[in-house]
């Protein structure tokens, strides 16, 4: 039977089991939306901005394990996706992004709303392609989904010119696809694995360093069993947090420039560093020349290009994290490393991550979230709010954290929560954001309200772009350049002394929530934290914004100053003490 390209597009989505589509219409996508009209099997979600749209698809994909699917128009619709595509691709999130395009006959003519989105996204996507012939459409879409979700997951952009959408052609949609240049690794090299096990057998001070790869492969249970079987302590990156429950006795903490003292100390002193699914990003290694110098390093990663790029490893193993861990479970043996574990536990006791201060602190807010929301997805924005969340949020099989780890995209947290709630209607979905990041995609309040998504948005409001302000305080002589969110024209231009006389914050988040038909609560005292969260949990019809007014100059501690090794941490804030 002959059908239009747009009809085939809808058929393809169904064949790929797409039930939620994040979509914003426009001139060059109107045929696709026409074909979607009245479609009952696909829930078409209309966010208020394409950046919010793509982050929502990202949050949906991360929290469900399915491919997130976006549909936008050409030109500005397509370019508004760019930040979200880079965000998702950097964190290996499977997305397929469809963009409308001007008709093939007009491509290259600087037509209205024409951009070369394939060219623009080439370096920030796993694959990007323009469909130039109607007969290629089905195979291209099949290929896009296959590439997005296999191997190291990533973003595929598919550009659909208007004439292709309207052209009639076959309704056939292939089930199987073979791409000669793309063969994701599906096995584990046993020789290399045995080498790794051999090194492990002789280890006196081994640690596991776990990155996002274990969460992406959904290998959390297996990872926990492997840690328990071997008795090896587990350190995670921000993306790897939750690989084993954070309450587990073998869990040490996060590594990195805001990692825990015990974790960074353990990395610097270990004799075997067994890493799985991390790319040794500069935010985790600190000064690279002094990273884990005493250790033999084993590195399992699905991406060969992530191995021996930043640090030289002794045993490289290219494999899927889950498959590799399962193979290890068959062969690994218990190690006698209790002395080493005790040593690490002493470090944990010596300098626990603890704000230990009075007043309303982010730590109190996140601890209350831990207590009240046991079955939840927690998204974070970027900056101090994210770092505090990675420090204090407890994770286990029922509680997941979604941060923008690699790209560090402000404005990610709230729209990602919309996607997470759509994908997990029965879970509580909480956003931990700052007052800066929340304003970067605040228009999505309308989306959350109209789709009746009772998301709980915790804004930690310090009236500053806090993370940059912290750096300015610590490393730039308190020169608070363009970081005060309460600044007005009438202020001193070089003010760095926030006090009670500062101008009112704008917007008023409570009235803003109310103007959208949502609920708004302001919390200024520790005693009110729990009541506010419980009241938000009871509001099941609309989103709730809880604005927590926190001290204006709280810092994220500890910190490894730029250029230092993980051994050289500043543990306590000078101004405030512990």
């Amino acid at each position: 039977m002959e059908i239009t390209g747009a009809e085939l597009f809808v058929k393809a989505l169904k064949e790929e089991s797409v039930t939620t589509l994040f979509a914003y219409p426009g001139g060059q996508a109107i045929d696709l939306f026409n074909a979607l009209y009245g479609e009952k099997e696909i829930d078409v979600i209309l966010p208020r901005h394409e950046q919010g749209l793509v982050h929502a698809a990202d949050g949906y994909a991360r929290s469900t394990g399915k491919v997130g699917v976006c549909l936008v128009t050409s030109g500005p619709g397509a370019t508004n996706l760019v930040t979200g595509i880079a965000t998702a691709n950097y964190d290996s999130v499977p997305l397929v992004c469809f963009t409308g395009q001007v008709p093939t006959s007009l491509i290259g003519n600087d037509a209205f709303q024409e951009v070369d989105i394939v060219g623009i996204t080439r370096s920030i996507s796993k694959y990007a392609v323009t469909v130039r012939k109607r007969e290629d459409l089905a195979e291209t879409i099949r290929k896009a989904f296959y590439i997005a979700k296999t191997g190291k997951p990533g973003v595929v952009a598919v550009d659909l010119p208007k004439d292709i959408q309207r052209a009639y052609g076959s309704d056939f949609y292939p089930k199987e696809i073979a791409i000669r240049g793309y063969k994701p690794n599906t096995s584990v090299h046993m020789g290399q694995l045995n080498k790794a096990l051999d090194i492990l057998r002789h280890a006196k001070k081994p640690v596991f360093l776990i990155g996002g790869g274990v969460n992406i492969a959904h290998a959390n249970k297996e990872m926990t069993r492997l840690a328990e079987l071997t008795g090896i302590p587990v350190i995670t990156t921000i993306m790897g947090k939750g690989a084993i429950p954070t309450t587990h006795s073998l869990y040490v903490g996060n590594i990195g420039i805001h990692g825990s003292y015990a974790a960074n100390r353990a990395i610097s002193n270990c004799d075997v560093l067994f890493s799985i699914g991390t790319r040794f990003n500069d935010r985790i290694t600190g000064k690279i020349e002094e990273f884990a110098t005493a250790a033999k390093i084993i590195h399992i990663d699905i991406d060969a290009a992530s191995i021996s790029r930043n640090i030289v490893v002794d045993v490289p193993i290219v494999a899927d994290a889950k498959k590799a861990i399962c193979s290890l479970l068959e062969k690994a043996e218990p190690l006698s490393v209790s002395e080493w574990v005790n040593e690490i536990n002493d470090w944990k006791k010596e300098y626990p991550i603890d704000m230990g201060r009075s007043g309303l602190t982010p730590q109190m807010v996140i601890k209350a979230v831990n207590e009240i929301f046991t079955d939840a997805v927690v998204t974070t924005d970027v900056g101090q709010n994210q770092l505090w969340t990675t420090q204090f949020l407890a994770l286990d099989e029922n509680r997941q954290m979604l941060p923008s780890g690699g790209l560090g995209t402000m404005g990610y947290g709230f729209p990602a929560a919309i996607g997470a709630k759509l994908g997990n209607p029965h879970k509580d979905v909480i956003v931990i954001s700052g007052d800066g990041g929340m304003q970067m995609n605040i228009q999505e309040m309308a989306t959350a309200v109209v789709y009746e998504l009772p998301i709980i948005i915790c804004i930690l409001n310090n009236g500053y772009l806090g993370n940059v302000r912290q750096w300015q305080e610590m490393f730039y002589d308190r020169r608070y350049s363009s970081t005060c969110m309460r600044y007005r024209r009438s202020c001193e231009i070089d003010c760095n002394t926030p006090d009670h006389c500062c101008p009112e914050y704008t917007p008023d988040f409570i009235r803003l929530a109310e103007s959208y038909g949502a609920k708004g609560i302001r919390v200024t005292k520790p005693a009110d934290i729990k009541d506010a969260l419980i009241s938000a949990k009871q509001n099941t019809k609309t989103p709730t914004i809880i604005e927590f007014i926190i001290d204006r100059e709280i810092n994220v501690m500890p910190i490894v100053p730029p250029g230092n090794s993980l051994n050289d941490m500043i543990l306590e804030s000078e101004e405030h003490g512990k």
Binding site: Y127, T130, I179, R180, G181, Y182, A304, A305, S308
Partner: protein, 166 residues
């Protein structure tokens, strides 16, 4: 730092050249030359890439190229016996009779051919290795300073069938 050679089989599709060359610019990899042409299978193009890099960067370049969906196969020619040639055109302007005689002599030594000539301007063609062409260019630059124009085609390479050294 060492001179490297890569033979790359890629999908013969729009945008593949941009993807490959874009990878080099995005990641700040040095690229000496890149040539591309369609193979006996019209759906596949073959690239010859020459570059100069250290071992670690070169490993990373190979991995990054290999993981591109459009790359079908990568062969490292750095230490394998290959034949490689580069086409070079040199236009020499303002030649006297003595110059022309000299150019014929040089051509003979370098295995170049004079392919065109109008009394004062001479066009040389030389299909040699990149190094040999470098030598010829250096010589001509010395002898005919500010009077030459150069068009280089970039190297193409193929595995040797009988020789064991390059």
């Amino acid at each position: 730092m060492k001179k490297r050679w890569i033979c790359l089989f890629v999908e013969n599709e729009i945008g593949v050249l941009a993807r490959i060359s874009g990878l080099f610019s995005a990641k700040s990899y040095n690229l000496d030359s890149l040539t591309v042409g369609v193979t006996e299978d019209s759906t596949i193009s073959r690239m010859t890439i020459s570059l100069t890099s250290d071992d670690k960067t070169f490993e990373q370049i190979k991995k990054q190229l290999s993981r591109s969906v459009e790359v079908i196969k990568l062969v490292d020619y750095t230490d394998t016996p290959i034949h490689m040639k580069e086409i070079l055109f040199v236009r020499v302007n303002g030649c006297s009779d003595v110059d022309i005689t000299e150019l014929f002599r040089i051509s003979k030594v370098f295995g170049a051919t004079i392919i065109d000539y109008d009394g004062t301007t001479v066009l040389l063609e030389c299909t040699q290795t990149e190094n040999r062409n470098d030598d010829l260019i250096a010589l001509l630059q010395r002898k005919f300073t500010n009077r030459i124009e150069i068009v280089r085609g970039g190297s193409v390479a193929v595995e040797a069938v009988s020789i064991s050294e390059r």
